[in-house]
């Protein structure tokens, strides 16, 4: 378990002080795979490094399991080598002067009381088998491919069975195909070991496919935390909707708030009135932005079945993407994107009718 309370981190650069983390509160349950997702410079890596003890925060508390490893009052700073953690760095940080075996044995050799030689051998072999590097134990570390280095770094992080595993963009240095395979392997492995994992990435696909919980960060703050499905389907802020997946935004003004359990309201937009799910606390006149995922927009030929949330649109461009057909449309001045099955036969310049299902349209308040 990892618990972070009101964390603030500044660091010094040549340009001056940067307030990198501005009040993070986070709890990673025992055995949970928790991802910090955000663009570069959002403070996610700084947060992770604070948990590792490699950055010293200015304020806040950090617990690993139930041990307080950092706090400002009373002042407690447990150094990284006493925190019982495993960590995989973005560069992998494989020590080039040691071979594969010695790289993995390193954490064991630093343990007190000292482990016996056979014990070290047994644990290293087990860790190498776990990441499918058995047989390479004697190889000098620099003679490994990128994927092998990544797995070696993982074996080194896991070998002493730490209480938590910290991963700093471990897949970003792999090529696309390998990254895809490794995503599933990695998740499967840490789930099998039931180890609490904090994972940092800027890749939304990694975050969605691997995590139990995703926390989206921006400019040193947490924007939203939830399961991948929640993050994708019910973004609470425009930033989340934009950063995770691709999205259509339609600006408008609340016309009517909904009543009853379904809570569908009505929003007036430049392209017409649209029914949608409204956030709590909106009143008629509130400025909102509608969020609709491209794959939720359908093209309808028979307008007699549907009467609401229909828009007349012109096809501006059709882009074949292999597994899908991306279609760019214009409704007046509004631009929309939709994803269709590749067999659809749309042509540029064609006029079509779009249906935006009301349960798929979410309004977010805008300032």
């Amino acid at each position: 378990m990892i618990k972070i309370r009101n964390l603030h981190v500044h660091y010094q650069t040549d340009q001056g002080s940067v307030h990198a983390v501005r009040g993070i509160d986070l709890e990673v349950q025992q055995g949970q795979f928790h991802t910090l997702l955000g663009p570069s410079g959002c403070g996610k890596t700084t947060t992770l490094r604070s948990v590792a003890g490699l950055e010293i925060p200015d304020q806040g508390e950090i617990f690993i399991s139930d041990d307080l490893v950092f706090s400002t009052s009373p002042e407690i700073i447990v150094p990284p080598y006493k925190r019982d953690i495993g960590m995989v760095f973005q560069s992998y940080a494989i020590w080039p002067h040691l071979n594969v075996f010695e790289n993995v044995a390193f954490p064991l050799r630093e343990m007190k009381p000292r482990l016996s030689q056979p014990e070290i051998h047994k644990k290293v072999t087990a860790a190498l088998t776990l990441v499918q590097l058995d047989g390479l134990a004697g190889r000098p570390a620099p003679f490994l491919s990128g994927g092998q280095q990544q797995r070696l770094a993982l074996a080194r992080a896991l070998v002493k069975e730490p209480r938590v595993l910290l991963l700093d963009e471990p897949l970003s240095n792999l090529d696309a195909k390998l990254r895809e395979e490794t995503r599933f392997e990695l998740r499967e492995l840490v789930k099998r070991l039931k180890i609490t994992t904090l994972y940092v990435t800027h890749d939304q696909l990694e975050a969605l496919t691997m995590s139990d919980v995703v926390t989206v960060m921006d400019q040193g703050r947490m924007v939203q935390s939830g399961t991948p499905i929640e993050i994708y389907q019910t973004p609470q802020e425009r930033f989340v909707a934009n950063f995770v997946g691709s999205t259509n935004f339609i600006e408008g003004q609340v016309q009517r708030t909904g009543t009853g359990p379904t809570q569908f309201g009505e929003v007036k937009t430049a392209s017409g009135h649209l029914r949608c799910i409204l956030p709590d606390g909106t009143t008629p006149g509130t400025n909102v932005v509608l969020v609709v995922r491209p794959e939720d927009i359908a093209i309808v030929s028979d307008t007699s079945i549907q009467q609401e949330n229909l828009l007349r649109a012109k096809v501006e461009a059709v882009i074949f993407m292999g597994d899908a057909l991306e279609c760019q449309l214009s409704v007046g001045n509004q631009r929309l994107r939709t994803k269709l099955h590749p067999s659809s036969s749309l042509r540029q310049g064609q006029h079509v009718t779009l249906h935006l299902p009301r349960e798929r349209c979410r309004a977010l308040q805008r300032p």
Binding site: P96, E110, P142, L166
Partner: protein
């Protein structure tokens, strides 16, 4: 934070030490140039004036000296660079056979000390005893020896040969980074072949070529040994030898202040060249970023000229390394120098080597040299390591300044630094440093600091911070991390810099000649110089043969470590 404030003490220590080592001698050099007292020990702030400058710069000899220096420096740089460009082009851009031998052989010529090479060429081309001269005289029945090595021409020829290896090593990557796609891009943009070469290739190469040129000019300007061996006997002076001659004048009482006054202009020229060199280098680096990677440059087909080209290259290697060594080895087995003949072969003897073994001064010099070289190399490694640690790894306020301070000695010719320290050690006579090997060690350490700190900076930057952080999170305490990760990774650089310093401290004669005093404080370079001066040619040949062999082995060791280092550092990120 708290940890850093505790560490600030040693950062200040390093800073002040380097500040003192660099600025104190420089201040003495400048103040000394205004001193009207004859001796540095009599120097005081009351006795100051322009008299040294007046004396030196109204003397017509100074202008003759300036003319000699220009001819010598420009001539040798021109010869050296032309040879190096040809060699680099042949190995990088043509289908000449036997390239591996050239890559291995050319850097080897660095191992031969300039002093010994000059002496070897005297044995070959001196008008009185030169083997080639004598053979030609016999062969062609000449009255006069045809070639005189004791001349500006001889200095230009030899220093030109000496400049080739460094220029070659600088030019090879330049030639290699000429990305043909850049020219192809010009071609598809409509440029004709000639204008593509002119507008793209030459433009890209220009800053690199200019940088190599400036660097070679600087080296030729600073070198003491070649003009010392070839120019001094004939009374042909350049800056470095004139300053030495003023200080070590045997005939009249030296006026030390005049040496300083002369050194000031010399220093000014060196500083200006260094400044332009640094600017050029930053231009070169800007260009290297945009060149491509992973291509095989097209090779020029030499056709019938392939073997003449090989012959040319091997002629260079023969002249630069094999011939001096053979001449020395040959002379070392003879009681006196004679042209090779059956008779000469019969009279070969080991008595020169026996003489060395019994000669007391040789033993002292060897002991002193080992002590001096080990101290210098160790001090340089430690000092430059701590300097780099502050510069690269700390947030110390003066780290940029410290970096520049450590680079300053790069611009100071060895002889000038020698004079500067000469004043310091004579003035601080409460410390018995002057004239000892300690004085030589301190002088050399400052002189090599710029190279050492550059090498350490590069190496420290290569060691990604995450390699150490990975050790911390693996449970290693700071000192364990230092011991198991940091030091092993730095070790190749330590050893590399150490050997580099040894190689240079052994062979440079200028600075030790100024700072030593008395026969008991000689190092090998001084001993060789003095024995040569007194005409012990066969003994010099014996000692030179042994020294060359040792240096060659050390150079091979450096190459081996060079490979190791590549292997250790390439894969980190």
């Amino acid at each position: 934070m708290r940890a850093t404030s505790r560490l600030l003490f040693w950062q200040y220590g390093v800073f002040l030490l380097v500040l003192g080592l660099v600025l104190v001698p420089l201040s003495f050099l400048i103040l000394g140039s205004f001193s009207t007292a004859r001796l540095p020990t009599d120097f005081s702030l009351e006795t100051m004036g322009w008299v040294n400058y007046l004396k030196v710069y109204t003397d017509p000899e100074t202008y003759a000296l300036l003319g000699n220096t220009v001819i010598y420096v420009a001539g040798s740089a021109l010869l050296g660079i032309s040879l190096a460009v040809t060699l680099a082009w042949l190995v990088e851009r043509t289908n000449m056979p036997g390239k591996v031998w050239i890559y291995a052989g050319v850097p080897m010529t660095l191992a031969v000390p300039g002093m010994l090479q000059a002496m070897a060429w005297v044995l070959l081309l001196s008008p009185r005893i030169g083997l080639i001269n004598k053979s030609l005289q016999n062969l062609l029945d000449l009255d006069q020896p045809p070639i005189n090595i004791y001349s500006l021409g001889g200095m230009v020829f030899l220093e030109g040969l000496r400049l080739v290896p460094t220029a070659f090593l600088m030019l090879v990557p330049l030639m290699r980074s000429m990305d043909p796609t850049l020219e192809e891009a010009a071609a598809v943009s409509g440029a004709r072949p000639f204008s593509a070469t002119r507008k793209i290739t030459l433009r890209l190469l220009a800053p690199g070529l200019v940088a190599v040129m400036i660097y070679q000019l600087m080296t030729a300007l600073e070198v003491f040994e070649i003009p010392g061996i070839l120019g001094l006997p004939a009374g042909i002076y350049v800056f470095s030898t004139k300053i030495y001659a003023i200080i070590r004048s045997a005939t009249f009482m030296p006026v030390y202040g005049q040496a300083n006054a002369l050194a000031m202009v010399y220093l000014l020229i060196a500083v200006v060249t260094t400044y332009f060199y640094a600017r050029m280098i930053s231009r070169v680096e800007k260009y290297t970023i945009i060149t491509g990677k992973g291509y095989r440059p097209r090779q020029f087909d030499l056709e019938g000229w392939r073997y003449p080209a090989v012959a040319f290259v091997f002629l260079y290697l023969f002249l630069a390394i094999l011939l001096p060594f053979l001449v020395f080895a040959y002379a070392s087995f003879l009681s006196y120098l004679q042209t090779p003949s059956l008779e000469a072969m019969k009279s070969m003897t080991l008595k020169n080597y026996r003489f060395l073994a019994q000669y007391g001064e040789a033993g002292d010099a060897l002991k002193n040299t080992i002590l001096m070289v080990v101290m210098t190399a160790t001090a340089t490694v430690l000092l430059s390591f701590f300097v780099s640690l502050v510069v690269v790894r700390s947030k110390f306020w003066g780290r940029k300044l410290l970096d520049q301070l450590a680079f300053v000695p790069h611009a100071i010719p060895g002889i000038v630094l020698g004079i500067a320290f000469f004043w310091v050690f004579l003035k601080i006579d409460f410390l018995p440093i002057y004239g000892t090997v300690w004085a030589i060690s301190i002088g050399f350490t400052v002189s090599f600091l710029s190279y050492g700190s550059r090498a350490m900076n590069a190496s420290l930057l290569q060691i990604h911070k995450e390699l150490e952080e990975a050790a911390y999170v693996s449970g290693a305490r700071p000192w364990r991390t230092l011991w198991r990760v940091f030091l092993p990774l730095m070790l190749p650089t330590f050893v590399g810099v150490w050997i580099w310093v040894v190689l240079h401290a052994v062979r440079i004669a200028g600075l030790p000649l100024i700072l030593y005093e008395g026969p008991r404080n000689q190092v090998l370079s001084i001993l060789i110089w003095n024995m040569w001066d007194q005409g012990y040619v066969p003994a010099v040949a014996a000692i030179g043969t042994l020294l060359m062999l040792t240096l060659l082995l050390l150079t091979l060791a450096v190459r081996y470590i060079g490979f190791r280092r590549q292997f250790v550092q390439s894969p980190t990120v």
